[in-house]
Symmetry: C2
Subunit: 318 residues, 2 copies
């Protein structure tokens, strides 16, 4: 049986160590107080994770759920080229949830937070019928330097970090009833937010637009196209498909949390950034047809419209 | 049937008008971007509202639920003496929730937001088994000037804004099966965050500690005592009891969202601030007994320990 006050006390103890000097006042007052570096702007992102929608207790160990919840927000900070500062956790738990599950969740979340010096600085708790975690991540970026979705221009090249489809491939196996060991190296359970890559791209002014791939390449590239008012052509045999995945999963599978960015054709984008492989997968074009922003060039040399269906495809199955 | 993309589009349209110039980038990118005034610190608060825990659809009209969710966060900003800037909404909705309910919720939330120039700058949506709303409010305060719970000293006087117990009295009637008209003037449905009072107290440097009364006077005064390392004596016949309430509800009933603050005995605290009645209700003392931080002086001239039981008392009944 979870006791709300005991839970608050436990979270406050776990979060007591000072991880980030931007946090002037953490848990224990009406608001947290943060001080940004002079000349920096604030970044804020929120991600809602609900049991049986975003994860299943039967599939995902508690620590992996905690990791996944925070990793989503850190990935959003990475996609702006930002530096994360503090996180906030609103946590709804069933009254009959085992203590060990709540402990594991918090441990997984806080282990990832420590790795990036992100302080848990506040939140709220409540009872709920399903485990419900809303995670807010705050960050900072020098004023005017945040990388937006809206800067892509015709002629820009399209790049992606790492490989795609790996998380969706694991989800597909889980949905098929296969028992999958939740190893630390499996990005479905423990994705690595690409914060160093994001910061490098911002400092080196290489990216014209950026987003993280949370809903799937086809959906997230469409977001860049929509916000930038452009179209795109992908080259199917350039898309870096994860070992356990196929092209379909790489194009439409979500939760890879890789970075998708565009850069001028004159920019010298290195093959690796901060140790992560960078692959050119296509080109930004003028937008001719608003009903399908993205075209894909197949191995047969033919171009076809690419429907966006990463997110809708998987949302109902999780 | 709620469609997630249509809901996001609707929220983005409703939030499109620029309400606060601190918001450089609102909905539509991986993160929102905010710019604080130079020399200001950031305030962040999050509040989780879950159907059948914090409200009931049978009792609370959708617009009142939206108002209540945001009002909780604004009250936290007020309790720091801060100026609210932007809010973020993570919203989980049952798939069979009527469209009209979601519309009403958003209308209620955004009407309150407009009144205080608070921009809805981001969030997340998901399906959920119960209506689930986590609201983050950000604000700013000049560096080092945020009013904390931890500044109360022995000899300080204790003050409260408005009247207490009104919201709990309405809740008690609802629990007893009485039909209550959800009028705009009933603070249970439409509480008024005391932002002007908070700002006035911060600018005039009158308050030594402050908190908002969300869990009940006995609980929230204990928070001030715990964080300040002091005790307190309340004078029972000075506590401003709301018209429909009694002393018990005024001492332990939650959700009044009035401000509770302490000020030096030499401070000249006016009888009204920003039009709101201010009442002195007791005094801060040295803390002798950690098992009961608060004593109360009854009409019989006798002092007895005051248990803290606002929040625990009501949490299971909502």
């Amino acid at each position: 049986m979870i006791q709300e006050r005991a839970l608050i006390r436990q979270i406050r103890q776990l979060a007591a160590s000072s991880l980030n000097k931007a946090v002037k006042k953490g848990i224990g007052d009406d608001c947290a107080i943060l001080r940004l570096k002079p000349g920096c702007e604030l970044l804020v992102t929120t991600d809602l994770c609900i049991e049986d929608v975003h994860f299943r207790r039967a599939w995902h160990p508690a620590a992996a759920v905690g990791h996944r919840c925070l990793a989503r927000g850190l990935s959003d900070i990475a996609a702006m080229g930002g530096e994360p500062l503090a996180c906030f956790l609103s946590l709804g738990l069933p009254e009959d949830l085992p203590h060990a599950w709540a402990n594991g969740f918090l441990r997984g979340l806080l282990a990832l937070a420590r790795g990036y010096k992100v302080q848990l600085a506040g939140g709220d708790v409540s009872c709920a019928s399903k485990v419900t975690a809303d995670i807010v991540v705050t960050g900072q970026v020098p004023a005017g330097k945040g990388l937006l979705r809206s800067g892509a221009e015709p002629g820009d090249r399209i790049y992606v970090t790492g490989t795609l489809g790996g998380s969706a491939a694991t989800l597909k196996q889980l949905l098929a009833g296969k028992a999958i060991k939740p190893t630390k190296s499996n990005p479905h359970f423990y994705s690595v937010p690409r914060l160093e890559v994001g910061t490098w791209l911002r400092k080196n002014r290489l990216a014209t637009a950026m987003i993280d791939i949370s809903d799937g390449l086809s959906v997230d590239l469409t977001h860049i196209c929509d916000e930038s008012g452009v179209g795109a052509v992908l080259i199917s045999n350039k898309v870096p498909v994860a070992k356990n995945a196929d092209l379909e999963l790489a194009l439409h599978g979500g939760e890879d949390y890789e970075l998708l960015f565009t850069a001028s054709s004159r920019a010298k984008v290195p093959p690796r950034i901060a140790g992560v492989v960078i692959t050119q997968i296509g080109e930004i074009r003028n937008r001719r047809d608003y009903s399908s922003a993205i075209q894909i060039l197949g191995d047969n040399g033919k171009v076809r419209p690419l429907p966006q269906r990463g997110w809708e495809h998987f949302a109902r199955q999780r």
